[in-house]
Amino acid sequence: MAAGVAAWLPFARAAAIGWMPVATAPMPVPPKDKRRGHEGLIVLNVSGTKFQTWRDTLERYPDTLLGSSERDFFFHEESNEYFFDRDPDIFRHILNFYRTGKLHYPRQECISAYDEELAFFGIIPEIIGDCCYEDYKDRRRENQERIQDDEETDATNELVPPDMSFRETMWRAFENPHTSTMALVFYYVTGFFIAVSVLANVVETVPCGTAPNRAKVVSCGERYALAFFCLDTACVMIFTVEYLLRLLAAPSRYKFVKSVMSIIDVVAIMPYYIGLVMTDNEDVSGAFVTLRVFRVFRIFKFSRHSAGLRILGYTLKSCASELGFLLFSLTMAIIIFATVMFYAEKGSSASKFTSIPAAFWYTIVTMTTLGYGDMVPKTIMGKIFGSICSLSGVLVIALPVPVIVSNFSRIYHQSQRAEKRRAQKKTRLARIRAVKSGGANAYLQYKRSWLLIDPDEEASKEAGQALVCKTNPNFEMHHHHLLHCLEKTTNHEFVDEKTYEASCREVTLVKQVSCSSSISSSPHGLTSCCSRRKRKTFNVPNSNMSVGLQGSIQELSTIQIRERPLTNSRSSRSSLNAKFEETVPLNCDQPYMTAAIISMPTPPGTTPEGDESTSSTDYSQANIVRVSAL
């Protein structure tokens, strides 16, 4: 029931009084009206734009967000209004739907944004009014195609799962030649042989001068029969091998055999085998010659190599109805005009128009404006009808052609767009990844700056905290704290990729440098006080550094690694820092780090700090655990 007539319900109920005198039984008790005195305006504040409407207007559609009690979740007490943090421009249309009962789709809005708003407010898009529905559906379809395109390219470009079977690898190599060098080589080789084969077929028929012992001119094929036969054999062998390999590698053999490309492959190589099988019999030689015509189908094998050809084929397939119409109308016109011309020219002597089918040839040649002139009308009536025929031919052909052209253009542009998107996607993803890793680095940097703060020195701590607060807004602070809690829970830590890879390699180096640990620790102990100071100085630039200046951070980090005392808690932290900051694999310093970690447990009690040390040793323990596990 249209919700608009809900306003007329009081009238319908009142009119029911007309039934009362007729009724023989008592009437049921009317239901209690729950909401009374709730008339009035509702203020809907959508991102600052205030909309107002009657409460009843919204309640016309009780199964949407605004019409049901769901809107109470958005009620803002302080301003006594309903606040929605959504797009006010699109909301205008949604509110108009409540008012007029018709939902319109504005052309300038993005289709997915509009869909999202509709979904949020609980309105199904099917009730878009007829005036806008077609447009909406068209845009939606375009969007879906684009998404599908993206998904397809994703599927083809995704990282190779390492455990693909040989068969799958082969199939992938066949379908996407740019995935491996072998596939590319194979691709070009087959392309070359297709070209060679087609060229041989063509050259075969060129007259090549007189043969020895013969007077007449022979074609090259007959003169160099053996050479051509060998060439043909080679090409067919390659094609056969390729076909068999594809058949072997195909995930669904049945589907592969049914596909167009495989049929073309088969048709390309069958004539050769049939020719081998059949003897050089006079009876079947005619058929044999016909079979050789099929060899020209090899040229269609190029469609695997050319996207444009595939698009053309696809266009013709999709314009099948227009082509069919063209053919049908042409056939009709040909029959009509041929009949007319036949009967018009019947009277003239020695007329070439011997029968209606014979007149077909004239009609076709005239309608397509070829005008060979081998058949011309001689009577006046014939000439008149002939001219009408040629005029109408132009019209009949000109009508469906623009449709086919526009179809081709649409599909071609679509494929161009897909190519462009694929190219753009790479750069887009790279940029997005850079920003994301920037975020991850922010956490690691935060940890560094937090850990570097010397709890002994209140000033530095405050400075550090102040700096931390300045660079990390509230959200980030809590976020980092959350990650920190996770680390504590799991006794593992977040590191960046390179460090992780480096630590993987370290496992092997651990054993090598264990003996040198004692040696390395002593000189570092001497430099402990200097490093402390140095660390403090490094504190400031570190925390002030933005994430993007990774180069300078690395510089500092290298300095820190080299000069940092790898003793006690400091060393634990420093080792951590060294780990985090090592974005450039400093292979030469690997032994230092591992040494530091291993020398950790020996002096646990010499740390002046209380909690920090234990936590730091925990860290180190954790580190040790992690490294050894790796």
């Binding site: 608009g4 007539v5 306003a7 007329w8 009142a14 007309g18 039934w19 005198p21 008339e39 009843d56």
Partner: protein, 216 residues
């Protein structure tokens, strides 16, 4: 102050230049716009409060932006409340009952007057209205044929899928029952006094008259 001001745009067109475009004329002829009397007047004439009149008018105007309801629209609106059956016949009778000046369209004043009687009127007025509804030709008597028409219209609204199954003679039987009750002097017709008398003596009917008083 003016009463009804029915502005037909076609009148203005005629007064201006006789346009040769007949199609446009037709379109403009149909654009009848009706503005109701002022709120105060309606308040005085009906028993609705100002707020109630506002609500009623808003609902009315939303469905009929031109300001008047013609019979087709009326039937459409009423049929939406009874989707299983065919409410058009009863809506026709209703329309005639609301269209007190019989000009083929129900304006807002007619609408509101009718509702005022039905929802806020005295029992006498309501019964009067009901009698008016049943009396199709408005001659002051309800004949059996008129009653049968009304009864059939009411049963039509039920539709086919009822329990127990609706039989052909059910409306007729119902009319018989009605006449037995109402027609005191057995002259085959029911007059207004007979009707009101009989209804006032029937408890059920009396009670049901007060059923819809809190509708608005």
């Amino acid at each position: 102050m003016d009463g009804k001001r029915v502005e037909t745009i076609s009148a203005r067109v005629d007064a201006a230049v006789s346009s040769p475009d007949s199609v446009e004329d037709e379109l403009e002829l149909s654009a009848v716009r009706h503005r109701p009397e002022g709120l105060e007047q309606l308040e005085a004439q009906t028993r609705f409060s100002r707020k109630e009149l506002q609500i009623l008018y808003r609902g009315f105007k939303n469905e009929c932006p031109s300001g008047v309801v013609n019979e087709e629209t009326f039937k459409d609106i009423y049929s939406q409340f009874f989707p299983q059956g065919d409410a058009s016949t009863y809506a026709h009778f209703l329309f005639n009952a609301f269209d007190t000046d019989h000009n083929g369209s129900v304006s807002f004043e007619d609408f509101v007057m009718g509702l005022s009687i039905l929802l806020r009127g005295t029992v006498q007025e309501k019964l009067n209205w009901a009698f008016n509804l049943y009396d199709i030709n408005k001659d002051g008597y309800i004949t059996k044929e008129e009653m049968l028409d009304i009864m059939k219209a009411i049963y039509d609204m039920m539709g086919k899928c009822t329990y127990p199954v609706l039989k052909e003679e059910t409306p007729r039987q119902h009319v018989e029952v009605f006449f037995q009750k109402m027609d005191k002097n057995k002259d085959g017709v029911v007059t207004i006094d007979e009707f009101i008398d009989c209804c006032q003596n029937d408890e059920n009917i009396m009670r049901s008259m007060h059923l819809f008083e809190n509708v608005l």
